[in-house]
Symmetry: C2
Subunit: 274 residues, 2 copies
């Protein structure tokens, strides 16, 4: 499948009636592991990419670096790959368009686009709508079904009072949908009741983020969620394992953390052969 | 400390009488985790770097890509970093020198240099000696105590009959030492008795690779080993964890693999802030 066919297929996965489970890769190796596990598509995780490059999250990695990792990941697998591109790397409409153009050129079939800035404030709805429209216009000109996953951080950043968040998230999501977003991403919501209400109130496919307190996959599907992703969770789990391995090596002088339940190099060489 | 001071310090760590425990990073994130754990120096792992880039091991990653990752890792930490540069990316003496020059320019304070080719044959001793001499000559010209860790793969590749391997490994290691190598790396040996005999027969500091059957750190130190590294072990452990996370997500639709024992993003953001 070429990139345009993959994009079309990826868009269809949002409206199939089945929940799209999207693991998030931070490098080509994790992408290949997820592909071999049988998923239908992959996302990248900007926080995971930042951590693997040794930086904190939050646009500390440049647009060019983030797109370069997206390109590596998209090149390493046959699956559709959507790129997490934070708030688009710049406040101007032209920045958002430049970022989307880079994503398409990197082989991605969609992108995540946040409505918060790196200092944890929400972007004005009208400004975000304008940027979404511009990205969709670019995709139209490029004749690609580039899946724009518009994220609102109302819950994630705990904006204003708890009782006002639901309405504000729905207002934003529906404005983004109206502007052309293909999927609406509302991270930071874990209770089944609120997730169900979001599914009913938002006028397009809903993406939620899986974490410790999130209902399991089958329950999310029952609630009508269209897409679930895992963000930086798996990448952070590998960092935590690396911490435990380091601690064992330093304190006990033993190797269990990297020898038990760890296949030999030849197994991964075989798995990654291409 | 600047690069030359780090190189001097790194060389001293090989002759301090204490065992140098060297974890191997595959990206800047793992390097930062190892640095925070309190190690005195870091190596890279060429196999780990290859896997994280989605390739099998064995010079499938180009010299330029491998050096770029080494540069990222060396830039991400304050510790001395030595680069695993396989067989030097090319058979000519000039290839080995070009690779060493790239390593110094990437900020590394040393390199691993193997005597086997990607089709698992040993390089002629005389040819390897010539390359080692040329790398040391470059380091001298650059006025840096560039720590050349010359690896012989006699045991790793199970060359010829078991009873001839010890003598062949010692012959090679001592020829490399004579040519200027600062440390001699003999992976593939795990029994304490053979390790002790290698320490006594090799005329320079000995590096062994830690794996499942390797004596623990304290025992290696007692045997007189100068340096122990972990190769791609920790990186493969993170790939195996990613496989388990993927399988749990696909088969059970739950998230324990990336939520239990996994610190939140803000903890890693704080750890990686610079």
């Amino acid at each position: 499948m070429d990139q345009r066919a993959k994009a079309k297929r990826f868009l269809e996965l949002h409206t199939s009636g089945r929940l799209l489970v999207l693991p998030n890769a931070w490098d080509a190796g994790s992408a290949r592991i997820f592909e071999h596990a049988g998923f239908q598509a992959l996302g990248t995780t900007s926080a995971g990419v930042a951590l693997s490059l040794g930086y904190p999250d939050g646009e500390r990695v440049s647009r060019a670096e983030m797109l370069e990792v997206a390109r590596r990941i998209a090149s390493a697998v046959a699956l559709p790959v959507t790129a997490d591109l934070e708030a688009g790397y710049g406040a101007a409409v032209s920045d958002a368009v430049e970022t989307a153009r880079g994503a398409i050129s990197a082989g991605a079939v969609g992108m995540n686009f946040e409505d918060s800035t790196s200092d944890d404030r929400l972007v004005d709805v009208a400004a975000q709508v304008e940027r979404i429209r511009a990205i969709k216009k670019l995709a139209e000109a490029e004749k690609i079904a580039f899946v724009l996953n518009a994220r609102t951080d109302v819950f994630l950043l705990a904006i204003d009072e708890p009782e006002s968040r639901f309405d504000e998230a729905v207002r934003r999501a529906n404005a983004y949908r109206q502007a052309g977003a293909d999927c609406l991403f509302v991270p930071g919501v874990t209770d089944a009741e609120t997730i169900g209400r979001l599914v009913r109130a938002i006028t397009g496919p809903l993406n939620v983020l899986a974490g410790r307190d999130t209902p399991r996959i089958a329950e999310l599907e029952r609630l009508g969620v269209a897409r679930v992703s895992v963000g930086s969770g798996p990448m952070r789990a590998t960092l935590a394992l690396t911490q435990r391995i380091a601690q064992e090596l330093r304190e006990r002088g033993t190797y269990a953390g990297f020898t038990e339940n760890t296949p030999p190099l030849r197994d991964f060489n075989r798995l990654f052969d291409r």
